[in-house]
Symmetry: D2
Subunit: 285 residues, 4 copies
Amino acid sequence: MRTRSFRSVVKNYKAVFFDAFGVLKNHKGLIPDIANTFQYLDKKGIPYYVLTNDSSRSPEALSKWYQERGLGCITTDKILSSGMLAMEFFKTKVTNGNAVAFLGTNDSAHYIETAGLKTVSIRNLDLNDIDHIESCAFLDDEGFDWNEDINKTINLLRKKNMTVVVANTDINYPVNKNDISVAVGGLADMVEKILGKKFIRFGKPDAQMFLLAYERAMKDIPDIKRGEILMVGDTLYTDIIGGNKFGLDTALVLSGNTLPEMARIKIGSTGIIPTYVCESAVIEL
Amino acid sequence: MRTRSFRSVVKNYKAVFFDAFGVLKNHKGLIPDIANTFQYLDKKGIPYYVLTNDSSRSPEALSKWYQERGLGCITTDKILSSGMLAMEFFKTKVTNGNAVAFLGTNDSAHYIETAGLKTVSIRNLDLNDIDHIESCAFLDDEGFDWNEDINKTINLLRKKNMTVVVANTDINYPVNKNDISVAVGGLADMVEKILGKKFIRFGKPDAQMFLLAYERAMKDIPDIKRGEILMVGDTLYTDIIGGNKFGLDTALVLSGNTLPEMARIKIGSTGIIPTYVCESAVIEL
Amino acid sequence: MRTRSFRSVVKNYKAVFFDAFGVLKNHKGLIPDIANTFQYLDKKGIPYYVLTNDSSRSPEALSKWYQERGLGCITTDKILSSGMLAMEFFKTKVTNGNAVAFLGTNDSAHYIETAGLKTVSIRNLDLNDIDHIESCAFLDDEGFDWNEDINKTINLLRKKNMTVVVANTDINYPVNKNDISVAVGGLADMVEKILGKKFIRFGKPDAQMFLLAYERAMKDIPDIKRGEILMVGDTLYTDIIGGNKFGLDTALVLSGNTLPEMARIKIGSTGIIPTYVCESAVIEL
Amino acid sequence: MRTRSFRSVVKNYKAVFFDAFGVLKNHKGLIPDIANTFQYLDKKGIPYYVLTNDSSRSPEALSKWYQERGLGCITTDKILSSGMLAMEFFKTKVTNGNAVAFLGTNDSAHYIETAGLKTVSIRNLDLNDIDHIESCAFLDDEGFDWNEDINKTINLLRKKNMTVVVANTDINYPVNKNDISVAVGGLADMVEKILGKKFIRFGKPDAQMFLLAYERAMKDIPDIKRGEILMVGDTLYTDIIGGNKFGLDTALVLSGNTLPEMARIKIGSTGIIPTYVCESAVIEL
């Protein structure tokens, strides 16, 4: 697979959208020397944004993670998460006074609460007192007992018909060099199949994630066209097909999900074709 | 199932999005008295738009159909089709000079050509001369020999890796009171499964259709919020879930796909919950 | 939905296959008066067998459950379970000295061990010592920590390529009048999707379950034909389609999964057509 | 991928099951020198059988094809096809006097008629005269107009609820070195999805195909055990997983569907593990 240097690619764009995991960070922390890339982009005056399917934390908490590791430039306003879309959904769709039942940590729900909404952890929910529960959210794969609380979620949804939101469409995520863990999107797929219901999913490759970022970019460069933006990601099925469909140019990086030796085979067998392939998003200064 | 009169519902919104088939028209022609609805909306100053997964004709041709039947108010600028999204995609993604191979009538391709793109019907394609073919489109279920040309499409995509666009996600459509026909989205699903590839689909319930219409509405009412728009449709899996997810309020009408006696069961079993249920979109004047 | 009395149906057959849950028993225990049915069949000299997708216990333990409730006629040799097929599979496919890693209770594994095979609970497995693990089995939804051990299973299967057996294809089961629980088949579906692998599944509607029972019936009535056997079940997707396909006649009973008010709609919408529909398998004496 | 010579593998078994396409023949005709293999097996006294998902012709017609090419040993009784299972099904399930509507050539239906059943080609069916149609069969991808007759099939199944049989589960088949064609199983998948119904499928990997062959083998070697039979095939998803599950040993050959350079990757990614991998089923004499 012939690859291009990231610098030679990115210099031709007016703005850049980055996926987080596998591009900017991995299980060990920041990708080494990724700071160079932001130094370069800042110098060139090319704005950048991080698009993540992470609904376990607020943009503030996500931003703080980068800042603590020396990437002060990844401020809250640079972060666009699927959790933000879920929060917007609940703000418009949940009646005042009613509550959202959720699977996840209290941290993951805290963000929804900042919008003035009530939340109840499925763990603490009394299935005999659900009149005020208007919607249900899959936020994070932690913060509950899988056995007991997934079954409880199923029975809640059998007792009362309500809209269910999956705020992270990923079905798994890496926990270290070799191991992965089921993500909340995988649990949601299982529950959806058992119930025969249709949930609402937010996150890449869905257009709403790209729209959210595009609207943010237009605040910085009002007349920017979609074709002037580069989406950088490590996953064909989310970052690349979603970016292509939204009209962005796309760069697949081989520092995460898609292993260098498999990139050509995967592109050929899926028909998901990035505009460019780069070893990583790191720029040698 | 308790239903609401469409008038009592629609009067509270600043703009209306209508699905076409099963809402404004059916296999016999216009839904009787649907003209009343547009007379009412014009009088109230509520703008309206038609969102259709029809990629077999241009907005001009779609608009003409209504005008010939006395609905002069459905002008070209009121029509938003999945074919428009496909055309936009090809405009940004196909290299100048290259061509799009398509399944469909010449009419369906004509619209793409108006954007300056070259097209070649799969029927006329020589599989030994495909260097200039850069993309492939499923546009319409007519205009080709199903047996020969679907197999030809499969072998084109095995010979050369390219992006495939499905410009109509519907898997079937009604042809008369009792009968349905496979739509091009159904053929695309079969081909995708056989090839193991991933196609790009445009059309409801995808957010891009709703975004296209929302951008159009903002030209008429610059500060309109999503929650001030009503999406009216007959299909839970496209119109209603798509509208809900995009943040619109939704009205399911029982004049098409979803039969009155099944509406309650379907809403309960799918968990796709419209804001309102109405017998039809017709307003008694 | 016009139903037939079970007596008028069953008297015309030479043997009967019963599903267990929803037919002979439910969450409260035995279906009231089901003993009558076996008294009738014994009197008529019609042999019967119980076909169950239950892999959590041995035929001995399953039989004991009936015997403790007064149904002495349900002896071990009357029971055919998907767990028996899994055990047969491991006996022929696992090399002497190697082990099967399993999700489930120790009880569920005990049955495999009686065949001389070694088993290791995923819970107790050391992922750094897996040379002797040759196969993996989903046996029961209890006996492990869902969060930790499902993720451990996924990482075991990433570390070493091995055949995975799902000994219970059901995706959920009822725990009381209103509530259901995820069954081990549902967990297996999720893991299979995350890994992109293909597991081997035993249990109805697969032909091997019916073959196992048919071979047992032929021991009692050597020249019995498939069409002389009645399969009685409460689930269209397992009991009825599986029985139909294997060449048996089928009776859907409305005492379990398929509610009386939905039977006609479900048969019409699925196209899975039982030979008969009966209120229950109970015979009034 | 380390491969074994087919001779060194096959000599240890008491009987052999062969897949046809990609193992014994390809688009050009017989695999060169495959006659050697049968000469060897005959000499060793190892009986063999051909298991094929081909429902377009009768066992007689399939056998004749081999005989015309010099393989006189592939007699009718050596052939087990999914079409035979479909015929058995109709014999027990279709009421005397009623008819089976079919998609396919007249040849494909001729076989069903030899069992005394009436058939009607969908092409010739009058949708206003369907009282006598009791079942529907997908037999072959030829012999009908795809556009018109697939839609006609859909509307037949909407008008009248009946059991639908898919007599060939393959979704595509090779027509020459480079090209493939949609098989009738692919068309059936599309129709099933559009209707939301559940069809009955015959053919590998389903246990009934292997059972049919096993029963045939037991006529030649009454006490043969499953583990003493070798299943030879070129496709992991049908031949190998089906053989493994039925308790046979399995040999994947690289002369067909599974390309040598991809075999290791496919086995690793699917978790479908053949007992052996051989270049082909040809034995050098």
